[in-house]
């Protein structure tokens, strides 16, 4: 029974992933068509502009794909729980589903993310046993909402560092050439 449930969850999750990839491809296609129409309208023939535009389209689609990397539905959470614990939990007995989803969405996919979710779940259970489920739910929401800014700022900080490194490399390249 457990195996059957996991199989169903896995299938749902992969269907959600497939939908996500198709959505990203649709974005890529739409952007490409827009750029082609723009070239046609303004009769742009320069090869360099075309290459730059193609790269920009590709980068924008990739960005879209990675920013909305994880399938944002219940199938994902259920699958994560089933894979990690072997048994899918009943949503009413675990932490608030939307708060957990929020954490998964703002964090990059890594082992640390699982450790963070595990820490939250451990403290949630303790709070629920000590003060009741209502208090624990409120606590979990406060943690989730309070973590949005630090986690997002951490990601922005990394992007800014990469941008600074790229700018530095570009300056060195220009100086060298």
């Amino acid at each position: 029974m457990k195996q059957l449930r996991e199989k169903v969850l896995r299938r749902r999750f992969f269907l959600a992933c497939l939908r996500h990839v198709l959505r990203s491809l649709a974005v890529l296609g739409t952007l490409s068509l827009c750029v082609l129409a723009f070239f046609k309208m303004f009769s742009i023939e320069t090869e360099l502009v075309k290459v730059v535009a193609a790269m920009a389209v590709l980068m924008a689609s990739t960005l879209f794909h990675f920013v909305s990397k994880r399938p944002k539905d219940e199938a994902f959470l259920a699958y994560m729980r089933a894979v990690n614990s072997g048994v899918a939990k009943h949503p009413e007995k675990g932490p608030p589903m939307h708060a957990e989803k929020l954490i998964y969405l703002i964090l990059p996919a890594s082992d640390t993310t699982d450790a963070i979710i595990g820490d939250l779940e451990e403290r949630y259970e303790r709070a629920a046993n000590r003060y009741g489920v209502k208090y624990a739910n409120g606590w979990y929401w406060r943690q989730a909402l309070g973590s949005v800014v630090p986690f997002l700022w951490n990601r922005v900080r990394k992007i800014l560092t990469l941008t600074a490194v790229a700018k530095g490399a570009h300056t060195v390249w220009k100086w060298w050439m």
Partner: protein, 104 residues
Amino acid sequence: MPSTVGSFEMKILLAIISLKEQAYGVAIAEEIEERLGKSVSVGTLYTTLERLEEKGFLATKFGDPTASRGGRAKKYFRLTGKGISALKETLADIKRIQEAWVVS
């Protein structure tokens, strides 16, 4: 030459030292909350831990998954030599400033 650490980073490093082998997210947060009487959000804690790890002040390892955590593993932290040097330097700086204030 090792760099110094900030105020919250110092608190985290001291909590890790005090917890020895049992320093993982929940234990660190509870240790800080107990000692300082302030709540620590998981976001602030983990971004600081990640920053300290990037600086080379912390080493990490994953433990075994446990049922109470939904089958998820704990991430344990310990100080590296560089981390200990940075912490000592920061504490020495604070001591020097304190002494200067007491003298003047």
